[in-house]
Subunit: 148 residues, 2 copies
DNA sequence: TTTCTTGCAAACGATTTGCACTTTG
DNA sequence: CAAAGTGCAAATCGTTTGCAAGAAA
């Protein structure tokens, strides 16, 4: 089990290394957004991260948030997904989740399933280099099932 | 192997049954959209279906297309997915695809994998009733891998 | 000082919504 | 006829873009 502060440091270093390798700049905004992404962990939408930063009095423009999240994907730190809603969600790249998505209310529950992930990523796909995977099971949560 | 005309008839009947059970109306638009969805089969976006109808001189408003596609999902005939782009895609419900998605150019390749689908759907999920599933492997297609 | 980043606001694009007009049952 | 469905255009909302001003290197 990796403790949170150490994990954050690892990811900061990963970002630093990535920025160096691409000759990109180490701006405070990029580290602030990384920190908050780790803090939110699990899944989060862009606005959730944006608002979390605002609440603690740290202002960054939405454009920067969008740019930086894309950068963190490039760096292999985050993965980007879109589920039922038209809203991107990000998660830390090492997560191996299966998503249970209610097609009525859009609620998403995450389930850890490393064996599924490894099955998907160790397969050979001619002409395609896999990086990460995502599985979703759509259906009805109990709340929505009973109210319909 | 089910021949196409028969399959279409089965789905038309399924729609008719669904409409009857909910006391909804059997409009020509609904059947036209179903026909075109079956014809496009595999994955298609809303605009692809809309344009296909326009091209053959059959005009329906976009609103109706959106409404009807949602209806067809309710009827269990189509499934709705959103992948990398912010654009919904629909596929016939019986498909059991694994999607290889290039995170650079967004191209999607489909692979049949019934065993994966059945593994996901036969599992027990407390508090959740599964209906259909979708798995995606993100990475780089050869074109994008070589140009970066 | 050069070039990359940021912030802001305007632009975009897919989807949704409101409402008058049609059509089905 | 009454209720449901359609078409159209305007409204939404997440995301992207253009550009001037600010800050890494």
């Amino acid at each position: 089990m990796i403790s949170r502060p150490t994990e954050l440091n690892l990811l900061r270093n990963q970002l630093t290394e990535f920025l160096r390798s691409r000759h990109l700049r180490k701006t405070p905004e990029r580290y602030a957004i990384l920190d908050k992404a780790v803090y939110l962990s699990a899944h989060f939408e862009v606005d959730k991260l944006y608002n979390a930063l605002e609440e603690e009095g740290y202002h960054v423009s939405r454009a920067t948030v969008y740019n930086t999240l894309e950068l963190l994907c490039e760096a292999g730190i985050l993965n980007r997904h879109i589920f039922a809603t038209n809203q991107a969600r990000y998660e830390l790249a090492r997560g191996s989740h299966l998503h249970l998505i209610c097609r009525k209310c859009g609620k998403i529950r995450e389930i850890d399933d490393p064996s599924l992930t490894s099955r998907l990523l160790t397969e050979e796909y001619p002409g395609f280099t896999p990086e990460y995977s995502s599985s979703s099971v759509y259906g009805l949560c109990d709340d929505c099932a009973s109210s319909s």
